[in-house]
């Protein structure tokens, strides 16, 4: 179990997609399909829809908020996001998704253990942002 700080409240469970590389959702995630399109990232080609997306922090574009919002509208967004440090740009995408479409994407950051050291892509993970914990379930 990993303790973390709540950015956006909510609870979600799903398969983890884990990368050590920072990611820009704009130019890195196709909101229409949910595919990671950052060709320089090891997750390139993987689909985030309904998954728990684990990456250190967002880089690059201010447009990542819009990318997350569009992905949410099209039901292609990750079910939860776990960062070392969540950038306000991504938090805003989730705030708007809830405000405009009632869609919740729990987001947590500042974990007491680096999640990429204990969670692998494919592991089932539960993110309880209300309690501020991440639990890996079945391997």
């Amino acid at each position: 179990m990993i303790k973390c700080h709540t950015v956006i409240n909510g609870v979600a469970e799903g398969e983890a997609l884990v990368t050590n590389k920072p990611l820009s959702l704009w130019g890195g995630l196709d909101p229409k399909s949910g595919e990671i399109i950052d060709r320089r990232n090891a997750l390139s080609g993987k689909n985030v829809s309904g998954k728990v997306l684990v990456y250190p922090y967002g880089v690059g574009s201010c447009s990542s908020s819009a990318t997350l919002l569009e992905a949410s509208r099209l039901d292609k967004a990750p079910c939860a996001i776990v960062n070392l440090e969540t950038e306000p740009i991504v938090a805003v995408g989730a705030i708007l998704a809830e405000k405009l479409y009632g869609k919740i994407i729990p987001i947590v950051d500042k974990p007491d253990i680096n999640p990429s050291k204990v969670i692998r892509t494919g592991d089932r993970v539960k993110v309880d942002a209300n309690k501020g914990i991440i639990e890996a379930t079945i391997r």
Partner: protein, 414 residues
């Protein structure tokens, strides 16, 4: 966070639904990032002007604000449309897309936006002052406003820029605060081995991308950059640093206004880390920005961020008397204002005579031009364009100096 009586009333809907939506988003964000209160902003730069980026959700929100009678409380410049508004057919943008983009553009104008349609409003259209609180989106514009002017803005996510401009405020956290503007990582350029005085635009872009990637979420301070560095070089450096990292502010000692000395740049503290940047780092970055070594570009794009008049002039000098070869496109992206000035100076005629296309308010990453045209390989002098295009448009990418890019466009193929 503390809210004034007026802000509370706005949040309760007493000033109408648009302001309620706008301020509720800002207050929620402020609470997450522990803002103590809201601050007034003197102007805004809106990054939400491209339909390719904000899609139906963004268009719906903008049109909703218009229908609710909202207007921008502060001067708000606008980012690229992503299409040339007059010549979109020539650039093969679909009519159905143009209809959506036009609706979005009209919504922005109805809200009171200033029709700059550029990602470099700090060069043409916007006004900034040292220490001024503003609300800017567009990562390269944010970093330029903070670093080159010493104005203060957070990195606004798309659509919060609309909210901030409608309210005239933003929550006070991040780069609005002195303590968050301190340089944290020192990057020492090995100027004895790197001839920084002769750096090209692409070299500065590579340097920026390298530093951004290494800085991550921390504020970088750079030494050994000559005072003779130009505005356009800082522009390309900034765009790249903001692409490589989560960087909204950098300091260059002796060059940028909050960094008259290293001590001032670091707020009187020692930097947490010192990193040397030499020949290897620049070369590795330049290689990393390309996805292929085969220089068979069928699309050459310059102007990311939008070229200034000076850069257009330089491109004209290089391309004069040459011709873009058949089967290859040369697009130069710029703002409407820079194009107007350059037209008067005869610069545009020279570029167009050579077969180059001026793409005003356009952006190669803001529409799938590659798909419409069947492009396979992009060549560009922009680190930002190089980085994003491979994902967004599926092209191979070659990153190189402006001269090499123009040469590739005009060199006869065997």
């Amino acid at each position: 966070m503390f809210l004034t009586n007026e802000e509370e009333a706005m949040l309760n809907g007493e000033y109408g639904e648009a302001l309620e939506i706008a301020i509720s988003v800002l207050v929620k964000l402020g609470d997450i990032y522990e803002a103590d209160r809201m601050i007034e902003v003197e102007n805004a730069h809106i990054d939400s002007s491209s339909y390719f980026i904000i899609g139906e959700s963004g268009l719906n929100l903008c049109e909703k604000f218009v229908n609710l009678g909202a207007t921008f409380k502060v001067p708000a410049t606008l980012n690229p449309l992503g299409i040339d508004p007059h010549r979109w057919q020539e650039f093969r943008v679909s009519k159905s897309y143009v209809e959506k983009q036009n609706r979005l553009a009209e919504a922005h104008i109805s809200l009171g936006g200033i029709a700059t349609w550029t990602c470099a409003p700090y060069q043409y259209g916007a006004n900034l002052r040292f220490g001024q609180n503003v609300a800017w989106g567009e990562s390269n514009a944010v970093v330029s406003a903070n670093s080159v002017y010493g104005a203060r803005t957070e990195r606004l996510g798309d659509l919060t820029d609309i909210c901030a401009a409608v309210v005239g405020k933003y929550p006070r956290f991040g780069l609005y605060l002195n303590e968050n503007r301190r340089g944290q990582v020192l990057f020492k350029i090995e100027s004895d081995k790197l001839d920084v005085k002769s750096f090209s635009y692409a070299d500065y872009a590579a340097l920026g991308f390298c530093i951004g990637s290494l800085a991550g979420t921390r504020v970088p301070v750079v030494t050994e950059i000559p005072k003779s560095v130009t505005w356009d070089q800082l522009k390309d450096f900034g765009a790249a640093i903001a692409t490589g990292g989560s960087v909204g502010l950098y300091h260059i000692v002796g060059v940028t206004p909050e960094a008259r000395t290293l001590s001032e740049a670091c707020g009187g503290l020692k930097p947490e880390e010192v990193i040397s940047i030499g020949v290897d780092e620049i070369n590795e970055t330049r290689e990393k920005l390309s996805t292929t070594t085969e220089v068979k570009a069928d699309i050459i794009v310059l102007g990311c961020p939008h070229y200034s008049v000076e850069q257009l002039k330089r491109a004209a000098i290089i391309v004069k008397g040459k011709k873009v070869v058949e089967g290859v496109e040369l697009w130069i992206q710029t703002s409407p204002m820079a194009k107007m000035l350059a037209s008067e100076m005869g610069i545009i005629d020279i570029i167009e005579a050579a077969g180059g296309k001026i793409h005003i308010s356009g952006c190669f990453t803001m529409y799938n031009y590659a798909q419409e045209w069947g492009f396979g390989t992009l060549m560009t002098d922009s680190a930002k364009n190089a980085y994003y295009s491979s994902g967004i448009t599926g092209v191979e990418v070659v990153f190189d100096d402006t001269e090499k890019c123009i040469e590739a466009a005009t060199r006869q193929r065997s």
